[in-house]
């Protein structure tokens, strides 16, 4: 079940754009593949990013995986609650399990997939 109002990357990040701010998280496919998430290394606020820079590292009991930025820009907020409750990503990856907010420098989203395209993509992997 892929939420319709979001955009997706091939690395399984989701993003929601509100004005010039993008909220970033990992999707249900990613959280399910990782399994029980035990730790997340969050980025520093004000960190400058290029597209596909690493913004976070998610560790589970069986794997560790980097989260990449879908946009160039600057981190303006991180979800501090994940430090003490990383399991929020498993429980509610699209809402309370969000990872960070980025002030985007370029609103172009052509490199991202909408929910229909992403659902098709998921069938291929």
């Amino acid at each position: 079940m892929v939420p319709e109002n979001l955009l997706y990357t091939k690395d399984h990040e989701w993003t929601q754009i509100q004005g010039d701010v993008a909220i970033i998280g990992i999707d249900d496919y990613a959280q399910h593949s990782l399994g029980e998430i035990t730790f997340i290394e969050l980025p520093a606020v004000k960190k400058k990013l290029n597209v596909h820079d690493t913004i976070a590292a998610v560790e589970s009991s069986k794997a560790a995986s980097d989260v990449y930025s879908p946009f160039a820009g600057e981190i303006i907020e991180v979800n501090e609650e994940l430090s003490s409750r990383p399991e929020l990503i498993n429980q509610d990856c699209y809402k309370s399990g969000w990872i960070c907010k980025i002030k985007i420098s370029n609103p172009d989203t052509r490199h991202l997939m909408n929910s229909a395209q992403y659902e098709e993509y998921l069938k291929t992997i």
Partner: protein, 443 residues
């Protein structure tokens, strides 16, 4: 028995199959790199080999009275250490790849980690690293990861062997490694503080330093923290029996060479690197970590923990890919320290310091021999300023039965006449007197 398993017949067949000659097969190797011939005499029998090896081994001066230090020390090793560590159950250099099945090995490593934490007064330790030098390099890389900065300050009173290692590891990385020149045998505080800036990841210091001088780096830890940098301290574990610990000074990462904890001095090791840090930085620490836990039935057990940092999960993004531990050496350090106990370690450290103090007094009573630095505190090592070339004098003293010390000219310009002398609890007053007499005779 041939080293190459296939016959010439088979080689010919394989070559014809791919349509190449032997020369053609190796054509990618530059001509000048291909050996024209090998100096390989015909084989020997086992008996002959033994004799040959015994003959070569006989060339070593194994009966020298040892005043050599410089990071590796001639401490007494109780026979019980070998009796315990020699048990075949412990014979693996690695933590096992199905670790939890080896509860004994994991428990030993867990206790070793506890030992390192107690010695250094730090919160967490890993399962060990190769040696003191690689441990210091790993600490430096860890500081870069933690801070996201790329400048490192290191004083040249840190063991030059470690500094050489750090230089070769970092040569092709974009790390600004800046070295300061010691000030009268202690770290160059002024230069270090001047260079300390918002891009500095860490200051690296050593206690006791390479010249044996003892310092308190509390001020440096404070200065580093004010700038958001870390303080890395390399230390000598035996000295921690009596000296202020790096933890008490506020160090962020502590490393050192564990050889002095029950491992013999041998060229090339195996040695033992240890590393401890603050709990906040545990995820940035390289190497394996053993944790204590409870199983389903509430029984205590040991596991490898925080493995997501490691290469079998993290691959190229692991905290380190050259940090296999030295489990048997770590076990040795644990057994040695347990046999000594808290008081024993304190006594050993005190004996080293007292005997070194006597030795310095005795040596400097020789005409023309002085202490190189105006030392306020030193542990078991000191630098003598001789009236002649130290390397030559050390050479002459070998003939008289002494490994008299480490001539500093090898790593320090302008210290041609300086000899670094180490004294452990094993050295007697008589041996110190004999060294002094021998020194006087060759000067």
């Amino acid at each position: 028995m041939s080293f190459i398993a296939n016959t010439q017949e088979q080689q010919k067949k394989m070559l014809s199959e791919i349509g190449l000659s032997m020369d053609g097969l190796f054509s990618d190797i530059p001509k000048e790199l291909i050996a024209k011939k090998f100096n390989l005499p015909s084989g020997m029998s086992e008996f002959e080999v033994r004799n040959r090896l015994a003959e070569l081994a006989g060339k070593n001066h194994i009966d020298l009275t040892c005043f050599l230090g410089g990071g590796f020390y001639d401490h007494f090793i109780p026979a019980a250490v070998y009796a315990i560590t020699g048990r075949s159950e412990f014979y693996t250099a690695y933590t096992p790849y199905q670790p939890e099945i080896s509860q004994g090995t994991l428990q030993a490593i867990f206790e070793y980690q506890s030992l390192i934490c107690r010695l250094t007064e730090m919160q967490t330790s890993n399962a060990s690293l190769y040696d003191g030098g690689t441990a210091l390099y790993e600490a430096m890389m860890m500081a870069l990861r933690i801070t996201g900065r790329n400048k490192i300050l290191i004083d040249d009173s840190v063991n030059p062997i470690y500094r050489v290692m750090i230089h070769s590891y970092t040569k092709n990385l974009s790390i600004a490694l800046e070295e300061t020149k010691n000030e009268q045998g202690l770290i160059n505080r002024k230069a270090l503080l001047e260079k300390l800036d918002d891009n500095t990841a860490a200051i690296i210091v050593q206690n006791p330093n390479f010249f044996g001088c003892v310092d308190d780096f509390t001020d440096m830890a404070e200065a580093a923290h004010k700038k958001g940098a870390l303080l890395i301290v390399s230390c000598y574990p035996i000295s921690l029996g009596i000296l202020k610990t790096p933890g008490a000074m506020g160090a962020d990462i502590v490393t050192g060479e564990g050889q002095s904890l029950g491992l013999p001095m041998s060229f090339g090791g195996p040695y033992l690197g240890f590393m401890a840090t603050k709990k906040d930085y545990v995820r940035k620490m390289p190497g394996r970590i053993v944790g204590r836990t409870k199983d389903k039935q509430g029984r205590t057990g040991f596991v490898l923990t925080l493995q997501a940092r490691e290469q079998h999960i993290r691959r190229d993004k692991a905290t380190s890919n050259i940090c296999s531990n030295e489990a048997l050496c770590a076990l040795t350090a644990l057994v040695y320290s347990s046999l000594l106990g808290k008081e024993g370690l304190k006594q050993t450290a005190q004996l080293c310091a007292d005997k070194a103090s006597y030795a310095l007094q005795r040596m400097t009573s020789i005409k023309g021999v002085k202490s190189r630095f105006e030392v306020k505190w030193f542990f078991n090592e000191f630098v003598l300023e001789l009236p002649a070339n130290a390397a030559e004098i050390a050479g002459k003293l070998i003939e008289k039965g002494f490994a008299a010390g480490f001539p500093l000219s090898r790593y320090y310009q302008g210290m041609e006449n300086s000899l670094l002398i180490a004294v452990t609890e094993k050295r007697t007053k008589q041996q110190i007197g004999m060294l002094a007499e021998a020194l006087e005779a060759v000067l």
